[in-house]
Subunit: 288 residues, 2 copies
């Protein structure tokens, strides 16, 4: 794995902080710098040991960095990328960790032509939790986690290779695909489950919460996630989420209809087919 | 807590086996007998140490027992209760662990009058997992778990008190309510989340499973549950599940509509309201 002289992380919360900790533990860079909006988060990231140094200025932060990782809320990523691409040294690679990719990658590719020798490659490490903030960061967050790296007609092949290797060195299982494929797959396995969890938690009357047990706990865990972060993700992957919603509703409504008609055989068939899929899924995967 | 000379558990899988282990660990009975349909499950329960003795005959199994617990699939409970009530000694109490209560309790109360001195009280310990079988049983399963005990106009008050004390002695947080209230509350916090989890797992294309991470894992965990067991539960709580489905769909569709209209403020409001509820929920509860 290529070692960097300097890696800059813009936005050092749960994901950015975990990248900093993982890079430092594996000594993948001589220096890890964080870029922050607020002095308080800079102090917290230094205290957590996720970065070596920090600044509130993007231009200063990216100076001399070989790898720049944007780990801020999705809607802010293109604007930050514009500044980073404009200030990075020649040969630098910029990536992000946004949960939707079509909008982010197309916005950034529009500006990329003007930044000679600096390349962007989109990433989506599928790790995280309902918690937020650098205090929840941990160096092993990406071990065994899927990480999708986007490849388009405009993606620089050497930069792509470097980004793939970078995530692999953090323990992630890297998959390459175009941003449209990413948004479609992730809408069903991540974005829609969040919407459904928010829907379940939101529809339970407060006085019934005390009857919830393990099933309710797990099914709704991600409804404790940050509403603004997720509103951004939903809006930047709108059409694929609406499509995923229609697919889910078809299955869900078939189950409810079979219950409504007391069709035992049909209910068992639908549940067994869902169970067969769920039984094939394991996370982290047992076979690398 | 009253000690029993003999406790009989009819159906010794995950729940029945955990009751056996908990009773034995706490020495709540001199003898724990299991009743089985198949010799192979009798052997597995003896091997697991969940019972002291076992039989395939209900009449023989309940003989001399002060407490009889029916831990079999919901549809089988009234039929088994009929046999248990008819063979139990005077003064014995029969309870069950079925996940729906209206149908079970009304079926059993129809027959109860003929069994002088033997009383039935419905229970629903809300513990378990997507796993099945006595091998997954554990003595601490009920610690901190909600357990709903049903109270109707026909419930014997002394038998009710004994059953409440029994579940408390196993560490459960007991709530008393009538079967209709039970079925309504549980439809929203347990039955519907199962349907939604089956729906999510069932609608993900097999080739996208590898992109699932922690969110998908937790949101769909209960979709690995036994299809036949849950089909029975859904059919015996049909009308409340359909009602819960309408409540969930209203919230879920509001979120999707706000996404469809790119109404950022509305999305954040709906997610924040769901998050506030989910953040109030903890399991096992931190304050006893």
């Amino acid at each position: 794995m290529r070692k960097f002289h300097k890696i800059t992380i813009i936005g050092v919360g749960l994901i950015g902080g975990s990248i900093g900790l993982a890079v430092k533990r594996r000594r993948l860079a001589r220096e890890v710098t964080g870029v922050f909006r607020r002095p308080s988060t800079l102090r917290r990231a230094l205290k957590r040991g996720a970065i070596d140094s920090g600044t509130l200025d993007i231009k200063e932060g990216v100076r001399g960095a070989g790898l720049i990782i944007i780990a801020s809320p999705v809607l802010t990523i293109p604007g930050i990328a514009r500044k980073a691409l404009g200030s990075a040294k020649s040969g630098a690679i910029v990536t992000d960790v946004g949960s939707s990719k079509g909008w982010i990658v197309s916005e950034i590719e529009k500006m990329e032509g003007r930044c000679r020798g600096v390349h962007f490659v989109g990433s989506h490490p599928m790790a995280g939790s309902e918690q937020a903030g650098v205090e929840a960061a941990r160096s092993g967050l990406f071990e065994g986690a899927p990480c999708i790296v986007t490849k388009t007609a405009r993606t620089d092949r050497r930069a792509l290779k470097t980004i793939v290797e970078f995530w692999r060195s953090l323990g992630a299982r890297v998959e390459m695909m175009n941003p449209v494929e990413h948004d479609r797959s992730v809408a069903l396995v991540s974005h829609l489950p969040h919407i459904v969890a928010f829907g379940l938690a939101g529809s339970v009357p407060a006085h019934s919460l005390k009857y919830g047990a393990e099933g309710f706990k797990d099914t709704t865990r991600v409804a404790s996630s940050d509403p603004k972060l997720w509103a951004d993700i939903f809006l930047t992957n709108r059409s694929e989420i609406l499509r995923a919603g229609r697919i889910f509703e078809r299955y869900y409504k078939k189950i409810l209809k079979a219950i409504s008609c007391s069709d035992y055989a049909k209910i068992v068939k639908l549940l067994a087919s869902a169970k067969a899929k769920r039984d094939r899924f394991s996370y982290p995967p047992s076979c690398g």
